[in-house]
């Protein structure tokens, strides 16, 4: 869940909530059409010794793509498809940069692409994702499947500026 919820609500998002003690606590910046974050993780997130778990790498990229989707259109979205391709291990204790940008957008969905890189610009993993836009209309159509309280929060987040922008 992008930090569309942090402005007026207590988000506990694993990816971006600043107060989730076990979360990634990613903080994003916008550079034109590209959204970036820097991340350095320790042994709590390992798979093999010294290597960040591949699922965590996927989470970093999912969050980065989702942030690009939300911040570029001010509409929250659910991930409906995510393809990760790994090129090399993400090492623990080393700063990396993740970035994402929008590839295609229509009224229903957005496609985004992104990449996680080492400090030297070497590719660690590449992501392509599809996101279902939670517009007011989509929320109305899916009101039976999404908790009412979440719909209320998402409606209030649509159109608002996230913190840091």
């Amino acid at each position: 869940m992008p930090d569309s919820m942090t402005a007026d609500t207590e988000s506990n998002c694993f990816g971006c909530a600043p107060r989730n003690p076990i979360g990634l606590r990613l903080d994003f910046e916008r550079h034109g059409d590209v959204f970036t974050t820097r991340v350095k993780l320790g042994a709590d997130y390992e798979s093999f010794p010294g290597v960040v778990h591949g699922g965590i790498v996927a989470s970093i990229l999912d969050e980065t793509l989702a942030q690009a989707v939300y911040r570029s259109g001010r509409v929250s979205a659910f991930t409906t498809g995510l393809r990760i391709r790994y090129a090399r291990p993400m090492e623990t204790g080393t700063e990396h940069t993740a970035w994402a940008e929008i590839v295609k957008r229509d009224e229903i969905s957005v496609r985004a692409t992104g990449r996680l890189e080492t400090g030297d610009g070497e590719t660690v993993a590449v992501a392509d994702g599809t996101f279902y836009l939670l517009t007011d209309e989509a929320l109305g159509q899916n009101s039976q499947r999404i908790p009412a309280e979440l719909i209320k929060v998402l409606r209030s987040a649509n159109g608002s500026a996230p913190q840091g922008d």
Binding site: R85, A87, R88, E122, T123, V126
Partner: protein, 82 residues
């Protein structure tokens, strides 16, 4: 430029190897400057150039340039048929 030549051009660019030095029976692992990152870059560039999707296992299943060219040709034909 046909599909096979375009694939060679992508490999040439990513590995900084002249196209004239690339042949279908050459193994990827024997090419200069090859590592997993560059192989991934070749796949991404190829997907973009031909608007196709290459399976993840291509990274370790494909042995030669010719096999990769065959795969791209097959995917392009499938795409054209749908």
């Amino acid at each position: 430029m046909d599909i096979r030549a375009r694939v060679c051009a992508i490999i040439s660019k990513q590995l900084s190897v002249p196209e004239g030095e690339l042949a279908p029976d050459q193994h990827f692992r024997a090419l200069p400057n090859v590592d997993s990152m560059r192989i991934l870059q070749i796949i991404l560039e190829t997907e973009k150039a031909f608007d196709i999707e290459i399976d993840d296992d291509a990274t370790f299943r494909l042995q030669t340039i010719g096999e990769f060219q065959d795969l791209v040709e097959r995917l392009c034909r499938q795409g054209a048929a749908t």
